[in-house]
């Protein structure tokens, strides 16, 4: 893992704030009925996508989940393209066919969110297989939640990845909730990372802290790039809001929500940056203004973009 420069610290901070502002804005815009379908925001979990993706090259790939906005943004997708897709517009990278839940952008190795819990894990593993097969050095990161670790594909994929020493990092964002069900209700263990032993791969647990995630992910990515095989990295993440936007979280105790908010990964990182003179409050404020602007512009762009034409409905099913 390489040391971060001041610029990289700033960029990381900017990405985290960007994700939060995007999600906050999306909550409003979605609640106002401007976006169809469902959206799942990752507020409270911004450290993971950014800290992990800061270790990646452009040609490295990621596979993500229904809660995938942060991952796509951290991997660098253009905000306008991103928004256009979420609005279902024709100029989204998926032509408005995927929306939030299946967003993909090949040019940056964003292999797709997935509407099927656990569905993306073997796909990411296949991308890692391809990387090894082609003898290139691309690493794949597979994001998923602790709920997904209940699916058989989790087991099957990690087994194969370790068996074949595939260049992949499995990042489990354990936010304690699978929809409306808390971890203790669906899992008899505390740390998903413990399951790494079943596959003879390293299992690592880190808190919801940018620096720790960055370091652990860096080790895992380097290990993968060296051809030494996969790592299961678990982040003890927190979900601030409901499973999807509109979920009133009636099933959730108030102090669990407060506890999650108290563990704000952005505030924590900000404090670190401030106290280490890597960022000044005025810089932060300027960044925030800039981000808010670009988010507004992206929303405007998406709003004003055309929907696909019904005549295009059946286009491109087969190559």
């Amino acid at each position: 893992m390489s040391e971060l420069t001041k610029g990289e610290f700033m960029a990381s901070y900017r990405d985290m704030v960007k994700i939060r502002r995007v999600e906050e804005t999306l909550m409003d815009v979605f609640s106002a009925g401007e976006i169809p379908g469902f959206i799942h925001v990752c507020i409270g979990q911004e450290a993971t996508p950014v800290a992990v993706c800061k270790n990646l090259k452009e040609s490295d790939c990621i596979a993500t989940t229904h809660r995938g906005h942060g991952h796509a943004l951290a991997k660098g997708i253009d905000l306008k393209l991103f928004m256009a897709e979420l609005f279902g517009k024709k100029n989204g990278p998926c032509l408005g066919r995927s929306g939030s839940m299946h967003l993909a952008y090949k040019a940056l190795g964003i292999m797709g969110a997935n509407g099927i819990v656990g569905g993306g894990i073997p796909i990411a593993t296949g991308a890692a297989f391809a990387s090894k097969y082609k003898k290139n050095t691309d690493v794949i990161v597979c994001f998923f939640g602790e709920g997904s670790a209940g699916e058989g594909t989790f087991h099957e994929s990690l087994n194969m990845a370790s068996l074949w020493k595939l260049p992949i990092v499995y990042v489990c964002e354990n936010n304690g909730w699978a929809e409306f069900t808390s971890q203790s209700v669906h899992m008899p263990i505390k740390d998903v990372a413990d399951r790494a032993a079943s596959y003879n791969m390293p299992g690592v647990v880190v808190p919801n802290d940018f620096l720790e995630i960055y370091a652990a992910a860096g080790d895992a990515v380097e290990r993968a790039r060296r051809g030494e095989g996969p790592t299961l990295l678990e982040v003890k993440s927190r979900r601030w809001h409901g499973h999807f936007v509109g979920d009133a979280q009636k099933y959730r105790a108030a102090d669990d929500i407060e506890g999650a908010r108290a563990q704000d990964c952005i505030a924590r990182f900000e404090n670190y940056l401030f106290s280490n003179n890597l960022l000044r409050p005025d810089e932060a404020a300027a960044l925030d203004r800039e981000i808010r602007d670009s988010v507004s512009q992206a929303i405007e762009f998406a709003r004003n973009s055309p929907f696909p034409d019904p005549s295009e409905l059946t286009e491109g099913l087969y190559a």
Binding site: H102, G115, L313
Partner: protein, 325 residues
């Protein structure tokens, strides 16, 4: 009579059957405390406790096999698969296990098991949350498949399914969850395998399922104003399906249109059309037309253009009336 929503009719059916029979239980993701992803099991965990309303890990294949094992041991599990699209993760348990256990073990076991699963579009939930896959299950001997289109039918059919000693797949339609309708105060059942004649008519038979029943009714209204008399059948059960009622109707109208939301090609409509052209082609005065979804995944933002609707039924009826043999 009382007015009730489709979703709440599901809830009532489960509640009544769980009251009646201690071996009936509900199992699935988020079905317990949270009351289910769509709210169908609201209040049931409070009423019956976590032993009988069981929140599971996200493990559809495991739950499905587990339900089959519990069923052969005398329980009567109702399994919720949150979206029909997720049936893809548990096909083995349904098809190779639950459906076959009885027959392949020489009738030693019964497998009283219900899978409730919401299908279809209408929520802009996109390609992996909007499919109608009933044709797969109808092709599998040992399963029963029902597709209730109204609050009345979903309650009555779900109760019948729970009492049935065989695996029954109850396909709900998400777009119908909020629909209101009247049901009796007292207990009733709707038999599996019986179609419902929604309206009598003489010019053309429309056989529809699930949401397309309502779209077809709209089309029939419009056609009526043009002097065209539609006999509308709600098939309700796909496997077994009510050949007699369909045959009787076609023998009367001599024209047939079939409408479902699933992809048209290789959908359940093909079986109805094929059976009619096998058994009573001589009765037909026109081609059999099918209305169904186009041959693409359900796109996120073009969902409306994608979904078959009353206009499509209207056009199909007009067409079978034009093209006299």
């Amino acid at each position: 009579m009382k007015e009730i929503r489709y979703l709440w009719a599901i809830n009532e059916a489960i509640r009544e059957e769980m009251e009646r029979d201690g071996n009936v239980l509900l199992i699935g993701e988020d079905v317990g405390g949270p009351g289910g992803s769509f709210g169908a099991s609201r209040g049931l965990a409070e009423r019956f406790g976590p032993e009988r309303v069981v929140d599971t890990p996200i493990s559809e294949a495991g739950i499905m096999g587990l339900a089959a094992g519990a069923a052969v041991c005398g329980l009567r599990p109702i399994l919720e698969i949150m979206f029909m699209d997720f049936m893809t993760v548990c096909m083995d348990g349904i098809v190779n296990q639950a459906a076959k256990l009885r027959y392949m073990f020489g009738n030693q076991y019964t497998v009283p098991l219900v899978i409730r699963t919401p299908a279809g579009g209408g929520l802009n939930a996109g390609p992996q949350h909007s499919q109608c896959l009933e044709a797969w299950f109808a092709h599998v001997p040992g399963l029963k498949v029902v597709m209730p289109a109204t609050p009345y039918d979903v309650k009555g059919l779900l109760k019948s399914a729970i009492r049935d000693d065989n695996p029954v797949i109850v396909v709900e339609n998400k777009a119908l969850h909020a629909m209101k309708g009247n049901i009796p105060e007292e207990e009733y059942l709707v038999p599996i395998g019986k179609a419902d004649i929604k309206r009598s008519g003489s010019d053309v038979t429309v056989v529809a399922t699930s949401r397309m029943v309502h779209e077809s009714a709209k089309a029939a209204d419009r056609l009526e104003k043009e002097g065209i008399s539609v006999e509308l059948l709600d098939l309700r059960s796909i496997s077994p399906w009510d050949r007699d009622t369909v045959f009787t109707s076609v023998a009367k109208t001599h024209r047939l249109v079939i409408a479902h939301e699933a992809v048209k090609s290789f959908g359940t409509g093909a079986e109805v059309a094929a059976t009619v052209s096998e058994e009573m082609i001589h009765e037909l005065d026109a081609p059999i037309l099918r209305v169904g979804a186009p041959f693409v995944p359900v796109p996120f933002s073009l969902e409306k253009a994608y979904l078959p609707n009353s206009e499509d039924v209207y056009k199909a009826v007009k067409k079978v009336l034009e093209r006299i043999l």
